[in-house]
Amino acid sequence: MSNETWKITFLVSRQKAQESRQFQSFEMDVDPDEYVLDGIERIWAFRDRSLTYRHACHHSTCGACGMVINGVEKLTCITPIRSVTSNGGTIKVEPLRNFPVTSDLVVDMRQFYTHLEEARFGQVAPVEEACLPFEKQQIADPSSTYERLVDCIECGLCISACPSALTSSSYLGPAILAAAQQGYMQSKDLQLTHWVDSHDGVWGCHSAFECSEVCPSNVEPGWRIMDMRKIIIARRVRSFFGRT
């Protein structure tokens, strides 16, 4: 923490039930090395207890505190105030895009979680399967086998940033497609390739790669979608020549 104090304005999206969205302004003195989530929590604690938002772990593991900060999807618990504004500046806080708003900064992610379960990817996997193929693997003892948690923290930032998800509610979205790719790499289950081989699946992606830009957890959904396309095309070519 620094000894500086900044005076900034939080512009927070407020929306209850079927009401239209409004922005409420909160001027605050903050330490610029605090995180955006700290500011939001202080608004809730000392200024307005009716503000609703999601958070849990405070260290980018749970993926609950994803929001749109000054137009960009961020995990607010690891986004320093200094990185998104300056002294005297404004932080505009909005709920994730492309999800229905339940209340204020909370969005309804039920369909997202349901689809993730359908992707059937193992949350814990051998290191080789959990890592991206071009990623440097950190293994203490190469003669032993290790497992680790896979990278996706199910925050939904990629879906919020995706231009295809912006206009189609049936499009599965980057996190789901990346999970399907990971599930396929783990299980070689052909049902997963059939599931995503559609316009609402991997072919709905328009290659803007915003998902990979905003992902806070090294999942590279854009690369995984393209890899899944490659797998599907390879299977089609093989089946055209009568090979399985």
């Binding site: 929306q15 079927q18 999800f99 071009f134 509610s169 328009h206 803007a208 396309r229």
Partner: protein
């Protein structure tokens, strides 16, 4: 609630604010595609002048030497180069080739497009 996905949000495809290189490529591809589609329609209208006889067509061709038309043709060349080169990148990415290099490959191909636009511009405006 305006937040859930909706086809009516399509205009935000063209909003580059706070987005990265991939979105700029995405926007450029859509704008150039619309431009080329408009050009195709105009091109067919121009060709249809032939049906009205040689004199009518010759008059139209003479009109096409107007500098405004030349700028229009320049835009068509620019759109063709940008859309074509970016399209090759997207097609390769879609086959899993070079997806990790999508940003640098886009920038490199746009440099090629810029060079092509400069070359054709020089020929069109200063050639002969």
């Amino acid at each position: 609630m305006t937040n859930p996905p909706s086809p009516s949000h399509f205009w935000r495809w063209f909003d580059p604010r706070n987005r990265q290189v991939g979105t700029w490529a995405y926007i450029l591809n859509r704008i150039t595609a619309l431009g080329l589609t408009l050009y195709l329609a105009l091109h067919l209208v121009a060709l249809s002048q032939l049906a009205q006889g040689a004199a009518v067509y010759d008059n139209f061709v003479a009109l096409a030497h107007n500098p405004v038309f030349k700028v229009g043709e320049m835009l068509v060349i620019a759109a063709g180069l940008i859309h074509g080169l970016n399209g090759i990148r997207i097609a390769l990415n879609s086959f899993g080739i070079g997806a990790r290099l999508q940003k640098s490959s886009f920038l490199m191909l746009m440099l090629f497009a810029l060079a092509g636009i400069g070359y054709f511009g020089f020929i069109m405006f200063f050639g002969e």
